[in-house]
Symmetry: C2
Subunit: 387 residues, 2 copies
């Protein structure tokens, strides 16, 4: 195990009805709240009205920013920052999924910065002060509800920028599984794959002797596998939605990466696809990840054997390590397929004409990953395997 | 899963050499520090001198309280509170094991209370203000380094009192596995058993559908089992000491009990033995826990079958659930025995003459546990099984 610091101060309020506490929680940070929402689903499910009523009950001054995009744009962030400054906002409350929370973080982080928010993120300027953030999560996927990271897009410069600041851990996150009951099947599946991908990025590591972190990762994967079947059979299965929601939060809050080198190549490889073809991140990950696994396998077969035998109960009898590892990767693909996720770039009508361009984008800032360090040519190979 | 709140703001600084940051970390909270230590081992291993030198480097005003007892006493707490008040202390720093940290919490929690510290705890008065706490851990066992709980003894009234306050999460805890290299074999084993016991108290629960929490608990138990062999063979095995240290911290920081009813009967049953016979807590737990398991087994065999098959790889073929469960319990006892832990009260020369008295003490405030609610007669039975 490597040395590490772990410090995650986000408070979770988990379970049915926890939203009732929202007025009291917000009030702890002041009287003026900016409520940030996405495309309208929170209004359709009645959550928005409920939250507003609960905030009004506490006589809070409510400001609103709606319409945050699935890949949140810096233009929305600028708008949010303007509202915060003009109204002397005390706390920013995200009601929605990862994109809404990410935009909220960017707004909170830029609220005290005099220049343009994009400069703040693009130039990697340290965020010195931020507004407090609260979240009410409606989609199990990104883990943004319990970490300090966010991703913002700039349509003008065609850039997607990730940033992070310890000041941007949400102060509290309300996780009511019922708020995910109406998530459509497709997005439920993408969310599950996103969660699994977060686990993989931290699991496949050359750091030795991390048995707790490894087993905790395997625990989340096994749980996702079991609960995905249940939630796809019954989208209103409270226990299944609960366990997937908790999986998403625990997958990317720092616990699985304690003292470990992590990889994150597949996320970069997928982001380049999404950037060029505007496909859903979870769908792209479903296509890319098993191929990344096959491509990097030889860099450390042991970990893949562990994955195959522990997560997929692959019987190792009479098989070579390579065969066992491949069987685990095959099981991963089968699981994604069973959930109805895409398996090839062709499923999104993506051909081989822009592989070089995408690989260039993926490596614009240098090589990717650590399990196997990937250059442009490696990434082109992985795209070819994914056609 | 039940509804739950989770909020653990303690920062962990884990790994070799992290102690170098102590001056900077303490300085974040002020200039006057009270350093609390136990019986002398921190001085023997040179850690104490190193810490003092590092604090001096930052020009901190250092006050000291040494000699905290294995079961920390309220008299020491009173002494610490006095030092804090007279010197306007800004932060209390524990350098030691769970007892030293517990005493530090009590001091920090009572520092702003006008009355006697014991009243504060015994009357369950809410702690409204507390000094910040830092810890440098030297023993993997209680988990006190990342939770808000502490236990204090009053020799005069023969009482042992547990208390808790969200204000008493350590601000930071420095966990350097090397500081546990010199822990004697006996205390290493007691620590491992204490950690395992914390896991059991949260694992054996009637709350349904908690797959992540259950698997995370099993992960810690499997890791303890593996690493205990290594650390007993080589007390200076850095990886083994690391994994056991992390296990101890993760076993009782709130993660394993998210959304679960917990039990804690065995801890109460053991505390009564320790109170009457002054035996080590870990030794007492080794004796009591497998017998508690056998006694409560029928209240929910499924969970014991899960424990046996997942943690101990018990082959279920051709066996009844009861047989599988018993085999898991037997494996637990064998593990404790292999580590050299005591298996019977007789190992401490404890006979059957005070079983009633101990059971009365254990139930002084009512029944114990939740997996099976235990009254005085039940606890006498468990003591009889333990003779």
């Amino acid at each position: 195990m490597n040395n590490f610091n772990f410090h995650n101060p986000t408070e979770l309020l988990f379970g049915e009805g926890q939203v009732k506490k929202i007025g009291k929680k917000v009030k702890e940070y002041g009287n003026k709240v900016l409520v940030v929402t996405g495309g309208g689903s929170v209004k359709r499910i009645g959550l928005y009205d409920k939250v507003i009523a609960l905030l009004q009950e506490k006589d809070l001054e409510i400001h609103e920013l709606s319409g945050i995009e699935p890949n949140p744009r810096v233009s929305s962030v600028r708008e949010g920052v303007k509202i915060c400054r003009e109204n002397d906002i005390d706390i920013v409350l995200a009601v929605g999924g990862g994109s809404t929370i990410d935009a909220t973080k960017a707004i909170a982080g830029a609220a005290f910065y005099d220049g343009d928010p994009w400069d703040l993120f693009a130039k990697g300027i340290r965020i010195k002060n931020a507004l407090p953030i609260g979240t009410i999560l409606t989609l199990a996927a990104t883990g943004s509800e319990m970490n300090p990271n966010f991703v913002i897009s700039n349509l003008k410069t065609e850039e997607k920028m990730g940033a992070s600041s310890p000041l941007l851990y949400p102060k509290f996150s309300i996780l009511d599984p019922i708020n995910t009951f109406t998530v459509p099947k497709e997005h439920t599946v993408y969310g599950i794959i996103d969660i699994a991908a977060h686990v993989y990025e931290q699991y496949f590591s050359h750091t030795e002797s991390t048995p707790i972190q490894d087993r905790w990762a395997e625990s989340i994967l096994k749980t996702l596998k079991e609960e995905s079947v249940k939630v796809l059979a019954n989208p209103e299965d409270y226990d299944a939605r609960s366990n997937i929601m908790l999986a998403g939060t625990m997958a990317l809050n720092g616990l699985l990466s304690m003292g470990k080198e992590t990889d994150w190549a597949s996320h970069g490889i997928e982001h380049a696809v999404s950037a060029v073809y505007d496909i859903p991140h979870g769908g792209g990950l479903a296509i890319i990840f098993p191929n990344w696994m096959k491509y990097v396998l030889e860099e450390g077969t042991d970990k893949f054997v562990q994955y195959a035998t522990r997560v997929w109960d692959v019987d190792p009898t009479g098989k070579s390590d390579h065969e066992i590892a491949l069987e685990g990767i095959e099981k991963t693909r089968e699981w994604f397929n069973e959930m109805g996720a895409p398996a090839r770039l062709a499923d999104y009508n993506i051909g081989d004409d822009k592989l070089e361009l995408m690989a260039e984008k993926a490596t614009a800032k240098g090589t990717r990953g650590s399990y196997k360090v990937l250059g442009k040519d490696d990434i082109v190979e992985i795209y070819k395997m994914s056609l």
